[in-house]
Symmetry: C2
Subunit: 303 residues, 2 copies
Amino acid sequence: MTFEKLALIGIGLIGSSIARAVRQHGLARTIAISTRSQATLDEAKALGLGDIYERDPARAVEGADLVILCTPVGAYEAVTRAIAAALMPGAIVSDVGSVKEHVVKVMKPLLPANVHFIPGHPIAGTEHSGPSAGFPELFINRWCVLTPEAGTDPEAIDKLVGFWRALGSNVEVMDPAHHDMVLAITSHIPHLIAYNIVGTVADLETSTKSEVIKFSASGFRDFTRIAASDPVMWRDVFLTNRDAVLEMLGRFNEDLSSLQRAVRNGDGPALEALFTRTRAIRRSIINAGQETAAADFGRPHGT
Amino acid sequence: MTFEKLALIGIGLIGSSIARAVRQHGLARTIAISTRSQATLDEAKALGLGDIYERDPARAVEGADLVILCTPVGAYEAVTRAIAAALMPGAIVSDVGSVKEHVVKVMKPLLPANVHFIPGHPIAGTEHSGPSAGFPELFINRWCVLTPEAGTDPEAIDKLVGFWRALGSNVEVMDPAHHDMVLAITSHIPHLIAYNIVGTVADLETSTKSEVIKFSASGFRDFTRIAASDPVMWRDVFLTNRDAVLEMLGRFNEDLSSLQRAVRNGDGPALEALFTRTRAIRRSIINAGQETAAADFGRPHGT
Ligand SMILES: NC(=O)c1ccc[n+]([C@@H]2O[C@H](COP(=O)([O-])OP(=O)(O)OC[C@H]3O[C@@H](n4cnc5c(N)ncnc54)[C@H](OP(=O)(O)O)[C@@H]3O)[C@@H](O)[C@H]2O)c1
Ligand SMILES: NC(=O)c1ccc[n+]([C@@H]2O[C@H](COP(=O)([O-])OP(=O)(O)OC[C@H]3O[C@@H](n4cnc5c(N)ncnc54)[C@H](OP(=O)(O)O)[C@@H]3O)[C@@H](O)[C@H]2O)c1
């Protein structure tokens, strides 16, 4: 499943991790890299991430049999418009965006009929961003979800599945709406809540705030790590997965109201019952092999 | 600052970590251990955590110049009643409970005037519990907050400060109400929210739930670790720090409502502004040395 030419549009944490892993495993003869700013392009070049460097995404995708969008989702429409006419017939066009229904809605109508459009989402990341944050092991043992429409060429799907497997991922094919609902609760709501509580702290009077920072190791610190993720990427996630996020946030809020009531009423049995019930979920995660000794597979590479 | 006899009442994660560290550094000539159940007492004995093992806490504190309560806070009243008459005049009586104002309210009236009552809270822990979960390094480089009343014998305070420093901690003396407010936001609210979101997931239909577990590595997993903490300990925290928790939860909820509104209205600039502002807090925590490569200092010892 070696590709002739891979074009990566966007070369931050995810794009640069793909570039490094593709190079390491020899999955493409040529890697073309395109990004919006000259500064980031120069950084990618200095890191030796590709073979061809282009500001213009249309030139990067010329002759590419695999094109992967690796920008924030909010940039997809403009990028797709820019590359559509330059795409090679038969090319596989994919992405790594954290939401999927919106991506299909935006990209599908702009793409020529003679390419294979297979949206994707590697469920792997860290709180760091930019080309130097990437590393080739990022995708090892992590899930990658693909959400092709019914009727997509099975051979093209197989090729992309093989690509992600070669990067070390476990691949799952899923409906985009279902993906968005599952990710709303596993990823988007946890990020929203982490951003929120860190925001609450940011509004405290200065003296309390400095003590919160001092004693942050008691739980709060883990939330700040989640809330250190890229603001633009997460803005786009919440702008484009609004319905699933609001649905899950509604459930979260209902549950929080009743928990708040239990605290107010000093209802010990209700508190203990909830705190006991949640342990079963933790055990399932450990049994599913989704927990390791490290907080995050990507973590050793960060601070 | 070696003690003649240290009595630990309760020998779970925190008590057993103190026992191990005290032994390692030779901080007490004799370690007496008392716990509610014969099973836990036998486990402590098998682990060789002390020199004297007693079901009856009154016998454990006899002749002890340092007594530390290491049970959930809800047990303090009964324990204090049981030991009060057996305490040696001049003994230092302390604890490790995660709330402090309530502890003063409950213990102070029951203690004889001739002991030095100095409440404490080592801000160190893991999600595991029981005598075998402890390890002697738990307190190294972590804060320990002491909340003695005005007028407490300075020599006794110095002795206890020296004890915690010898365990590797940085010691801070603070007003109990202030402690409870700071910990409400750094520790109690993060735990409440983690329990809540894991509870929301526990209520999902079975098929979605199993996918949430499968893809938990995207953020949710970190919440389940926090929500795996001991139910009884946390029940007692929320029963005894109600006012500070409700105050901070009120602020959190207000902020979440406006964040929810921003998502509903598709207000990109508001989302990006908040997500950017929270990064400064993260930087302060890293600068304050409260972050390490590991998610939790205690983590390598767990699963
Ligand atoms: N980070 C994660 O944990 C994670 C995990 C899974 C999936 N994802 C998805 O992966 C994608 C990229 O995330 P990342 O973390 O790699 O981001 P990143 O490190 O911030 O890199 C973003 C890249 O996109 C480019 N870009 C940004 N805005 C653009 C615009 N308006 N037009 C054209 N290019 C633009 C940037 O170019 P310049 O620097 O040249 O401006 C940069 O090359 C996102 O869609 C995200 O949802 C992220
Ligand atoms: N875990 C943390 O992260 C952490 C951090 C800082 C402070 N703390 C504080 O440390 C204290 C102990 O926490 P831990 O994590 O060490 O708990 P743990 O591992 O669950 O151990 C609790 C100990 O208290 C005993 N106990 C429980 N209920 C009792 C009762 N009703 N009467 C008498 N003894 C009872 C248990 O005895 P049996 O097993 O014999 O029943 C056991 O010896 C709590 O006050 C907590 O707030 C905990």
